[in-house]
């Protein structure tokens, strides 16, 4: 009895399950910044699990190379895109990107700039 199909099934099940949980996270979270976080687990965990499953199931070198290529590209590009999108949201909301006097960010406060907490959340 080969274990490949079982292991492949487990890998795909975990990958798809995590993606479904992250998509629920995108739906239920309050603001866009929180929602942006949920693509990272899909790209960093679900995707490599699928690539491992491809390696187990397929002997075709093309499939393996392309799977790895898609994973690497998605990994790098998703990080850059998430950062650029979050930055765009911040500039759109605040009018500027750097900390404003209205924000109570502790590091900034220690330097003598005080303000109001943004996004309805706590400050570290």
């Amino acid at each position: 009895m080969t274990f490949h199909p079982i292991i492949t099934g487990i890998l795909l099940g975990v990958a798809v399950g995590l993606t479904l949980i992250c998509s629920i996270g995108v739906l239920v979270m309050r603001d866009a910044y929180q929602r942006l976080h949920f693509s990272a687990p899909v790209v960093t965990i679900s995707m490599p699990l699928i690539v491992i499953a491809i390696f187990l199931e397929s002997d075709d070198p093309q499939a393996r190379i392309k799977g790895c290529l898609i994973f690497v590209l998605l990994l790098v590009m998703n990080s850059i895109l998430t950062h650029a999108t979050a930055r765009a949201f911040r500039i759109r909301e605040m009018g500027r990107f750097d900390p404003t006097p209205q924000e109570k960010i502790p590091v900034v406060e220690n330097r003598g700039i005080a303000g109001v907490a943004p996004f309805g959340g706590k400050q570290e």
């Binding site: 795909l12 093309q62 392309k66």
Partner: protein
């Protein structure tokens, strides 16, 4: 072409449900939420195409997934710039 259902195609079917929350967010949210919904759905569809390519045993279908990764990155950057400057 008749292909028997296998674990890859079942996974692809299950993954379809991950698009529903993205659709809801994209239809109901404000501009920022819609962009997030679009970007997340791009990631999900990339994985979906990968699963379908392996499920149908057509390695050449991987090119679809690869193309989507590249184009969704470019499109996402353009939309982000739009949101920052004009929306």
């Amino acid at each position: 072409m008749i292909v028997q259902m296998n674990v890859w195609l079942w996974s692809a079917l299950a993954l379809q449900f991950a698009l529903i929350p993205c659709l809801i967010v994209s239809f109901r949210g404000d501009v920022a939420d819609r962009l997030v919904g679009l970007e997340f759905s791009s990631v999900v569809v990339t994985i979906e195409l990968l699963l379908l390519a392996q499920g149908f045993n057509h390695p050449s279908f991987y090119d679809l997934s690869l193309t989507l990764v590249l184009l969704s990155f470019g499109g996402g950057m353009v939309f982000a710039r739009f949101v920052q400057r004009w929306l």
